[in-house]
């Protein structure tokens, strides 16, 4: 063991200290919000560091969870996240699989067609007008269909599929299976790691999607959680007027809504983490 120099040890200690501080700074705002959500109205109004809830109470949660809109928003967000993810993964996989067939006539042109969308797009207004023309505005489809496939994920999926040995497919087609059958019964199951990674990225993206919800949804019954939350913050007064929030604990009610809306992410986070490294390995294969 070589003796570590003074400089190196200082660096090590400083590094640990810095990263510990960074972790605290990252955690604090979240903890602040949890504390406020559990505080009484008066406690929430007093400023400063929130290291613990002040005047512990679940009133804010009771008030938030008694609003019917939060449950509707929950339902809508779940529909969009689940159905949107399934569509995304399925059609990203079919596209990637077929584009990987180098011998397919026209495959080069179609690959270019897909790749070009990564560097140029029609923009917000033409896309909005298309969605409107298709009659999708004010439906949850508007949050799922316009982003159903991403060229980036097609590339990620393609590079994973290339690691599957050709013999796997060859032996199956010799047994008389057609490509559709091979895709669904052999390729898809083998792609589980990449599917899990893309599904998690996509699911979180759909759950957090704000802009499309803002643009496409008018009907409050269709609001997803991010849109409802934005509306609650912006129209705090309005919400009080219409009787959605009967208490004056606006600060803690907003905080409780925030916590309620990130509970699902907190719940899947450990699961998500398992796929961190795998997902990024795939990402780096790309370059």
């Amino acid at each position: 063991m070589i003796q570590k120099g003074w400089g190196e040890r200082t660096f090590e200690a400083g590094n640990i200290l810095f990263l510990a501080l960074l972790s605290l700074v990252t955690l604090y705002p979240l903890w602040h919000e949890i504390s406020i959500s559990l505080s009484s109205a008066a406690g929430a109004m007093r400023g400063g560091l929130f290291l613990f809830p002040r005047g512990f109470t679940l009133d804010a949660y009771k008030s938030v969870l008694s609003s019917s809109f939060i449950w509707l928003a929950y339902r809508n967000s779940i529909i969009v996240a689940v159905a949107g993810t399934i569509l995304h993964v399925l059609f990203t996989a079919t596209t990637a699989y077929a584009l990987n067939k180098r011998s397919l006539p026209g495959v080069k042109a179609m690959t270019l067609l897909v790749l070009f969308t990564m560097i140029f797009s029609g923009g917000m207004i033409p896309t909005y007008l298309l969605v409107k023309t298709l009659g999708l505005t004010n439906t949850l489809w508007a949050l799922m269909l316009p982003g159903m496939i991403s060229a980036f994920n097609v590339i990620v999926m393609q590079s994973f599929m290339r690691t599957i040995p050709d013999e796997v497919e060859e032996s199956a087609s010799m047994d008389g299976a057609n490509p559709l059958r091979i895709f669904f019964t052999i390729i898809l199951p083998l792609c589980k790691p990449v599917i899990a990674t893309i599904a998690l990225w996509e699911c979180v993206g759909l759950w957090n999607n704000f802009m499309q919800a803002l643009i496409y949804l008018n009907d409050k019954e269709l609001f997803t959680l991010p849109l409802l939350l934005k509306e609650i913050i912006a129209g705090q007064q309005l919400a009080t007027d219409t009787g959605q929030f009967t208490t004056f604990a606006a600060e803690s009610a907003i905080a409780a809504t925030v916590i309620v809306s990130i509970v699902p992410i907190l719940a899947v986070y450990p699961f998500l983490q398992k796929y961190f490294m795998k997902g990024t390995m795939l990402g780096s294969v790309k370059s």
Binding site: I16, V25, H32, S121, G122, I233, I254, V258, S287
Partner: protein, 296 residues
């Protein structure tokens, strides 16, 4: 002809698999690209791109004469530039620091914590930030500030850069850490035998190993220079800071979808997309000239 039919028949299942994807890309990506035509038309919401009268460059003239557009463009460039300078290198430095940790358990805990904000939406973070930096109920006074940085035009851009760094710096390390993990340990051993100290190892082994990743991400980032991030701005900005915070994306949204001036908003969006595309192509060319591998 029969040759084509035969080939098509042989591959028909692949085309069946490809069909939904191709329909999707044409419908949702290429038709909107065609819809850009309304930037050159007098488009009304009751009409369509096929029967609207052509207007030439009228909307671009109006756009370039509009002070609001220049304010939005200026803010976009300034905010984006700050973000590039501070938020692009930050994850690289953080990844190097994480890589130097010897204690594996501590490293995992730090990673678990700093990755988290990436998975939370700007709406949620926005309301948390409003609360944390509120003058009445937050830490603003403890930090010695008299106003919330969210309400202060002098501090708002810095706040945008800082809050984005706080949200994304952790997750940004992931791709660099993956690249670092791919380095052959023998390289470190060989360098150590040659008497390299820790900082020389970082400088001469780790950094070269992630250089190509840095270049690829930098090229992609340059193409995004006029995209500041709609959600963050839209959630955080307010009348007090409009003048320093309105960017092209919020401008397009406001002009197009709130005021219904579709042609003007499309012209602004086209300007944004073309500049992005040109910057991407230019950076890629530059990088290749400098002898690195580009995107294509």
């Amino acid at each position: 002809m029969s040759q084509t039919m035969k080939s098509f028949h042989k591959h028909k299942y692949y085309y069946v698999l490809l069909l939904p994807g191709i329909i999707y890309f044409i419908l949702f990506k290429y038709i909107p690209m065609g819809g850009i035509a309304i930037a050159f038309q007098d488009f009304r919401i009751t009409g369509s791109v096929f029967n609207s009268p052509w207007a030439g460059l009228k909307w671009f003239n109006i756009l370039f004469e509009s002070p609001d557009f220049w304010v939005a463009l200026r803010n976009t460039v300034i905010i984006s530039f700050y973000k590039l300078i501070f938020n692009f290198p930050a994850p690289i430095i953080l990844a190097l620091l994480l890589n130097e940790l010897i204690n594996g358990a501590f490293k995992r805990i730090v990673q678990t914590i700093i990755y988290f904000p990436h998975f939370v939406s700007w709406v949620v973070l926005g309301s948390i930030l409003f609360s944390v930096f509120s003058v009445d109920t937050g830490v603003t006074k403890l930090l010695g500030l008299s106003t919330s940085p969210i309400m202060n035009p002098d501090a708002f851009r810095g706040f945008l850069v800082g809050s984005e760094m706080w949200k994304e710096v952790g997750w940004g390390t992931v791709i660099y850490l993956a690249a670092i993990a791919g380095v052959n340990p023998e390289q470190y051993e060989a360098a150590k035998i040659d008497g390299a100290n820790r900082f020389q190892l970082i400088r001469h082994v780790t950094l070269p190993a992630i250089a190509s990743t840095i270049v690829v991400l930098l090229i992609l980032r340059t193409g995004q220079i006029l995209n500041v991030g709609f959600d963050q701005i839209f959630i955080l900005y307010n009348p007090l800071v409009y003048n320093v915070a309105d960017v092209l994306e919020t401008y397009v949204y406001r002009v197009g979808l709130t005021m219904g001036r579709f042609s003007l908003a499309t012209a602004a969006g086209l300007f944004q997309a073309v500049v992005g595309l040109c910057l991407l192509v230019f950076t890629n060319w530059l990088v290749k000239r400098m002898g690195e591998r580009g995107l294509w």
